[in-house]
Symmetry: C2
Subunit: 354 residues, 2 copies
């Protein structure tokens, strides 16, 4: 099941700020990147996207995924690239296919609703079913030639279950949550399969050259603290442990889950992503001193004028401090954001002296 | 602008548990009601609704609004009624009309986007523009004949601005948030008009007989702590102060705003609503000992079997304690909930001995 380690085409890193920050080593300045930096904010991305039949063609074509992954490094001067992909490639590889509909978002034509549906869910050979992602990582690494580290990622098992059971996005994900309280054993069965697949998948990304991996628990915030412990944290811990011997740092970002920050920090992960609802002081208090924090500018701050972006970024930097910290937004950058505001944000972080 | 006080047809209350709990007076058992208890979970509600042209007809017809308000008192045995209405009647009365579309939710055909749009927004004579709500309250009070208290309510100004500027529901409300950072003066102008209208509107509800009023800040959770302080808390404080001389207790429920609980408790309100992401211990710690807490069962718990409902309700009751506490859900009851699970929840609270 584990990916066959290959020798990644990895030139020595010229900028390893992200990795040093994640590992708790001293950094001479704060590293910065943005969630969803590769994507709709860049006209250069839209130009690539418009030539294609759809979003999935871009995700599944390594050459193109590598191209849009590198765009923000060239155009925005960020301190890390993140492989262009989608968390829903894992359900797809497990046999739960999705469609990406414009405006509506992801739709699963055959959602998981019963034991029989869950039975059909496979733990695939990731090299076969998801080989296009490590392939994109290899091309990206070669082209980056050590300029900045490359981040790999996957969705957290709870978030993937939420989509697969619900059949798409939802305000409440009440079908998925109903499964947790009515058929906990069924839910645990699905979550374990997703966890096993995810460990193998992230190992394959690391073998291909990913320098750090991030887990996105996008729908963490709709669970109560006790359900989150039972149906999400437990599997995040398994994944973090499963990746321990790779030596590659792991980031966990659980949106809306301030209540779980203490538990997330205790998974053994290296970095905890913080959303913009949580103050830096509260985040540090809940996570303790031994993990790196990443975040947490309100993505709406980048919709304001330049002076607002600078003021808000500096307020954030002053509050987090310069060590054990990676500057980012508190969630993905909004599509309507002017790339020049993003550049202002990045310049402000890089100029910050603490 | 203030409503002319009328003498409400209020028989002495036979069950005033809710009010005593809100005022911090001793209660011999925990009072219980449910957000959205009057509505889609009850077949009796759907029977009324199906005879009508639409949701707004029900809201605007006092006789019918009173009928569905009383249904959960008769059918579920709750300790309070809450007037059947919608927070969007205030924008409507101010000249910003909405449509309630099945499945899609509210839509504002002419959203507020510019200074000229905001200029057109009126602070109306509430007795004229919103008289149907106090009228429904008067009918309800007469029919309740003192069985339980009646709760009035309004939306928080930030939440109403979010809808009016965005033009409807949204995952990010990024247009509304962009206004806060780009045109703060414009946003404050709108919020002040909404606040003035809301104070007059809630006074009219109280004059008609509402025994307690609740402010719903449904979109609190998409703001950063600093934007929440500037664009929401400031106006909540004005409303709480504006109602002080009525002697009627005020509840503030700000969904997703754990970061603001301390500030909300400090508005002078009597009760703070708690969502299901916040543990009772954390809520009490942040709010301090001098306010009543209301909440916070995960609405998804009611989608589980009876034994699950009992266990989760008892866990919640044990954590909150029996005094300065009103049992409720952490958000509105989900439409697909079986009313029998709601009855189990209510019975469990009423039987609880602490």
């Amino acid at each position: 099941m584990a990916a066959i380690p290959t020798t990644p085409a990895s030139a020595p890193l010229q900028n390893d700020l992200l990795l040093r920050a994640a590992l708790g080593q001293p950094t001479e300045r704060v590293p910065v990147w943005l969630m969803r930096q590769a994507g709709r904010i860049l006209p250069e991305y839209r130009a690539v996207r418009e030539r294609l039949s759809g979003f999935k063609e871009l995700v599944e074509t390594p050459e193109l995924a590598a191209e849009v992954t590198i765009q923000p490094v060239d155009l925005l001067d960020v301190d890390a690239a993140i492989i262009f992909s989608d968390i829903l490639v894992v359900p797809e590889a497990m046999g739960c296919t999705y469609l990406m509909e414009e405006r509506r978002g992801p739709v699963f034509p055959q959602p998981l609703r019963s034991a029989a549906d869950a039975e059909r869910l496979q733990v695939p050979d990731v090299d076969q079913a998801l080989g296009y992602v490590p392939a994109a990582i290899r091309i990206t690494k070669e082209r980056l030639a050590g300029r900045v580290p490359l981040i790999g990622f996957a969705g957290a098992p709870w978030t993937l279950l939420a989509y697969m059971v619900e059949g798409g996005g939802s305000k409440t994900f009440s079908r998925a949550r109903a499964m947790l309280v009515n058929e906990p054993a069924l839910a645990h069965g699905i979550l374990q399969k997703v966890t096993d697949t995810t460990i193998a998948y992230l190992k394959a990304q690391i073998a291909a050259g990913a320098n750090l991996v991030q887990l996105f628990d996008s729908w963490a915030g709709i669970l109560s603290p006790s359900l989150y412990e039972e149906f999400s944290l437990r599997y995040l811990r398994q994944i973090v442990e499963g990746l321990q011997d790779t030596g590659v740092p792991v980031t966990v970002f659980a949106k809306g889950a301030f209540f779980a920050l203490e538990g997330i920090a205790a998974t053994g992960c290296h970095t905890v992503g913080i959303d913009w609802n949580t103050t830096p002081a509260m985040a540090r208090q809940l996570c303790g001193p031994n993990v790196t924090l990443q975040g947490n500018l309100d993505p709406a701050a980048l919709l304001g004028p330049d002076a607002h972006v600078v003021a808000e970024a500096e307020r954030m930097l002053a509050a987090f401090g310069t060590q054990r910290y990676i500057a980012n937004l508190g969630h993905g950058v909004y599509p309507e954001t002017n790339p020049d505001r993003v550049r202002t944000f990045i310049r402000t972080v890089k100029a910050w002296q603490g």
